[in-house]
Symmetry: C2
């Protein structure tokens, strides 16, 4: 299959300089952490209407991950899991996904909260976040995460 090439639309700026710098792995751990996103000047018109959304989905490049493993020990677990059943950065295509709170837009700068992204991360796309719009309104099974979230006090 042929390669697909993307050019970053902007960059994410956060207090988290490296993985060892206290960067949370999951947004639920990132409550309150603030950051900004700077969007390329030529794309600013594409930000229209975004300020109506309290939350946005950021799709970004795990730029520090060079290779991948097919089995990883995920955050919240002690057992090796298939990488596609996790959000681990070392995946075949190093694509990350986070839902963050959008507090303000000024020109080409988005002010965001609840950020779990490393500083200097290249941003690939932004989509509005609307619960129940792209997500199922059905019962959901959470696989290995079910027990892990319970232990973590976040199970139901």
């Amino acid at each position: 299959m042929t390669n697909i090439s993307f050019t970053p639309i902007g960059m994410v700026h956060t207090p988290f300089k490296t993985r060892d710098d206290g960067a949370p792995i999951q947004p639920s751990r990132a409550k309150g952490a603030k950051g900004t996103v700077t969007i390329r000047e030529d794309l600013v018109d594409g930000l229209a209407d975004l300020d109506g959304f309290s939350h946005i989905t950021l799709i970004f490049h795990f730029h520090l991950s060079q290779d991948y493993e097919l089995k990883v020990i995920p955050y919240l677990d002690t057992v090796r899991r298939g990488v596609f059943a996790t959000r681990a950065p070392r995946r075949p295509n190093q694509i990350g996904l986070s839902v963050v709170r959008l507090t303000k837009i000024e020109g080409n700068v988005l002010y965001i909260e609840n950020v779990d992204i490393l500083d200097g991360t290249p941003l690939l796309d932004i989509k509005p976040f609307v619960p129940g719009f792209v997500e199922p309104d059905e019962d959901v099974r959470k696989g290995w995460l079910e027990k892990a979230l319970e232990k973590d006090g976040r199970g139901k």
Copy 2:
């Protein structure tokens, strides 16, 4: 900013051959539509533990979109909106995001339901879907979609 290159991890197969072929635009419109995903043989080990999840997030390439517009008239609306406030395919990086139901895995084939993706779409990544894990447990404002979803009978 430098280009980032990805190689598809597999391909999505659905009944929807072209945009004019009745392909739903939003997963909520795709209730019941069935498809499969074939994963590259060399990546099959990465599918371990995925079958514990009833829903998965597919990240894919809108391969039929060659260019982009910064303002688009989205599905469910009649007004031009900034492309980043929509899920329109003609975006600067043509990345699509769908949550689908996973019903079965056989070897390198995933059987999925509630699919809104065109046949032959290159798949870039799979992540487990867990509500409340990457999404906010706070009040959510839905921008221009708020009124559109109400009209569509899906508002709250």
